[in-house]
């Protein structure tokens, strides 16, 4: 018998190919980078456990993206519930309390504001926009990642962009792209 589990033991390759980009993908949606890393690590664990070990390594990249977005969505929902509860017990708490300083500290004003606006879009809209404008995925790839139709991808992208465009219509950056 010459078969081994280790033959398909692709964690190293998956890690090197996807880990950083997935953490960065998560960071578009979730402010705290440590949390992003946790979400991605959990996604790796989930994928490796569910995918028959390592047999479907070729599909793992897309699967990982999907699980990371699910994890991020779940995290944000829990965070939202927590914030609502905090506000209910403490009326002095601000709506954005609990938000990390990661993005605000490192981004210029406009980038920071656009990112903040992206994060308050409906879930599907922000995920479609993140996948399109960070990973440059095609509509078909985005549809596969999110488990929706390509038509829905177009709709979510259009609506999300339209919302952002309205929000930032009166604040065009100068020609150099500076805010």
């Amino acid at each position: 018998m010459m078969t081994t589990v280790a033959d398909g033991f692709e964690l190293d390759r998956l890690y090197r190919e996807h880990y950083r980009s997935l953490v960065r993908l998560a960071s578009i949606l979730v402010d705290d980078v440590t949390t992003c890393e946790e979400l991605v690590q959990d996604a790796f664990v989930a994928v490796l456990r569910r995918s028959g070990g390592w047999a479907e390594a070729d599909k793992a990249g897309a699967y990982l993206r999907s699980v990371v977005l699910n994890n991020a969505r779940s995290h944000l929902r829990k965070q939202q519930v927590r914030r609502r509860w905090l506000r209910s017990v403490d009326r002095t708490a601000r709506p954005d309390e609990g938000r990390g300083a990661d993005s605000a500290a490192l981004l210029d004003d406009e980038a920071s504001e656009i990112l903040a606006a992206l994060r308050v879009l409906p879930e599907r809209q922000r995920e479609v926009l993140a996948l399109r404008y960070y990973l440059d995925l095609s509509e078909a790839e985005i549809a596969a990642t999110l488990g929706i139709s390509t038509g829905s991808v177009k709709t979510h992208a259009h609506r999300g962009l339209a919302t952002l465009a309205i929000r930032f219509a009166d604040r065009q950056p100068d020609e150099e792209g500076a805010p």
């Binding site: 018998m1 078969t3 280790a6 992206l118």
Partner: protein
Amino acid sequence: MTMEDRLRRAIAARTRSVEPSDDGFERITEKLLDTGGEQMKLPSGQTRWYLVAAAAIVLAGIAGGIALAGGGGDDDTTVPGDQTTTDQSRRTTTTDSGPTTTEAGSGTSVTTKPNGGNGGSGGSTPTTGTATGVPADVRSQAIWPRPSSTTRFTDPVKVARSYARFYAGFADPVVGAFRQGDSRSGEVPVRPKAGSGPETTVLVRELSDNRWYVIGATTADITLTTPQTGAQITCPQQLSGTALAFEGTVQVRIDAYQPDGKRVFVGQGFVTGGGGPAAPFSSKLSCRIPSGIESYGVVTLYTVDETGETNPPATWEAVSIPVKLR
């Protein structure tokens, strides 16, 4: 600039600023082991959750052993709290107490204080517990105790027992008599329990610092032909040999060590030989060699006690070789 351009720019600015910490790989593997108690479907279609769980338990036990023994405290001559150790907290204690060399009983383990290069014979006060001035042969050949630890052994049987208990993960190893080879080397047989279980032959040698080290371990059931002793590890690492084990399954791990003696995970998996008779295995083990580690690490293949008599399942037999990591 269109909204799309502005959004793309904002996303790029954000993502460029995010750099994951470098322990992600280790965290994932830890989480995989932590969740090993749940069923993990394997490519063969079999479910061997118990093996994954066992690996986790054994690794945890080994990690605990390292923490407790700090590289080979000798449980024969001391109770755990009294072991001559290399764990950071006790290093500090030893350092504060002043001795440069401590004999822990007749012919047993020796804890030497690092002293800036002469292996513990000087009188200067060390600032850390990390051994310095370790001879080259110790660095390249010693599996146990770790060269970076300050624990040393003057008895070949004691070092074999320490390896079995604290490194290989035997629950209560039955250690036989020393079988002399040449004047500075020999073998010590170790079994998982009295009167039964396969023999793991622990190879011991007195190296140039006149202390005894485990330089390898072999069993009749597991033969590792690739990598060979001292070989350079490359990821993914080819593993080949023959094995006879319950359901043919043999656990594999590659360990590295930081200069402070902390074990670092390099790779872990398992190979499948034969369930009877022995059969060859050949596979590639995914691994990742981190930076800042000692040049040499250890490849260990082992099986766990499937009789259900030890809970958690302890190591049943083990093969260990030193390998070059960088």
